[in-house]
Amino acid sequence: MSYFFSNFSYVMQLFGQHLRMTLIVLFISLLISIPLGILVVRVRWLHGPVLSILGVIYTIPSLSLFVLLLPLFGLGLKPAIIALVAYAQLLLVRNWVIGLTSVDKAVLDAARGMGMSSWQRFIQIEFPLALPMLLAGTRLATLSTIGIGTIAAFINAGGLGVLLFQGVITSNYDKIVTGSIAVSALAIATNYLLRFFERRADLVIRGDAK
């Protein structure tokens, strides 16, 4: 661990880069997956094709996807973010769609029968009731982004992956351990935080929130 203490500010800088990359990816991913999920629920026949495509993307090995994007976007953060956003879609869309489709039909029937417009139904009923599933998807997608994000260092996107790659090349185990611990710490903290929100949302929809 001596590497960590002697290079504290450098490690923190990489940690910051990693966190920033993750947040950007998360933001863009949600911006795409929320409307995409709603579309898939409203236009039923899209369900199969869209989820298959996202499934296929998810199975492309990350290193090859980064490399495939090189000729189009060059090196750096941009191709990394594009690839990570593409990966995150499967987990987000799948969970969000499950959340939306599992809202009790009787509840929606009552809402429609009482004269709530489709927008009012979405905001007041469907969104809050599907939120725990969306948050669960968000948590999984974030953890996966943090993990796969380490590989992004290979195309000069920065982040904690830098420590891992440098450590492997220079056989510096201390560096590898430092990088691994930092990534794990980020993942565990994120998991804990998102889990907290997920539980809250779950209590709210079950009518148990204090």
């Binding site: 009787a106 509840v107 029937d109 029968g113 009482m114 004269g115 709530m116 009923i125 148990d208």
Partner: protein, 355 residues
Amino acid sequence: MQTSKVKPGELTTEGEPTHNNVIRSGEIVCQEVTKHFPENSRPAVDHVSFKVAAGDLVVLLGPSGCGKTTLLKMINRLYEPDQGQIWIGKEDIQTLPVNQLRRQIGYAIQQVGLFPHMTIWRNIAIVPRLLGWDEEKINMRCNLLLELVGLSPTYLGRYPRQLSGGEQQRVGLARALAADPQILLMDEPFAAVDAINRERLQSELLIIHRKLHKTILFVTHDVEEAFRLADKIIILKDGQLIQYGTPVEIVVKPENEFVAELVGSNNLLRKLSLFDVQSLLEAKQYERHNSFSKASFTSIQPQENLRTALSMLLESGAEQLHVVDNKGKSHGVITFQDLHRLLFEQFTSPAAELE
């Protein structure tokens, strides 16, 4: 269970501006209404025509799958008919803005469909809020409605999950009444409630109906329930209207073998069990000859059914039963003769007078 102390006047919202009401009448007219789901071979609702007078409680009765729900859902336009028209008062509902229409028609369903993430207050307040009522008025209304359906106002802050099935159904009823609609659509609202609570809810619905004079279209497949509640009954089979009449008419003059079978017209005791003492008194009332003899000591309550009345007559050997409610108030007498005449149609029924 508390009996409600709410006075009728408090439950209507006369002060409301009426200019934005799209519904100005409680009368419902269906003409040749037909709905054919593409996946089925025959129409779910098949050229159905009927007229419900404002303030009547009409029950749609028929076996499961006969099109009751489909017909009901066409009245608040959750389904659109393929053919035919529906009017509320003078308005063809197709010409009305659909969400406005629904906000002015109460809707209660078997699964209740309360919003699990909202308090009881928020659930009841949905339509009043859509209509832009102010908070204070909604609060008053919520308190009144809970009292009306026999729940304590402390329930307002609770969540649906914390309530029993019967209590949830009461909230469902309060929610349907929230914005004081002239018309209530109820789709098997008590079917999932246990027998004891179902009977209570039925009596309370009748009390509420008498107080508020809403037009109620009530769907059920339960013959006893239909006869307990209905001013008139519509019998449906395979999407077609088979018979429309008062309970007495349906029992005494079933349109065909299907109706006779359904209501058990071939079985005298079963027929008697469908009516309560009160309804016999009401039928007799049209004749204004209440021979009342002080000699009768055997008494019966108005809500008991006539089968019980018959067995009491047989057991006591008395000529007549004295009808006394649980507050000791006398309502008249019923005799063997009366039972006989009810079964074999010698009363001039109120419905017969209208024809």
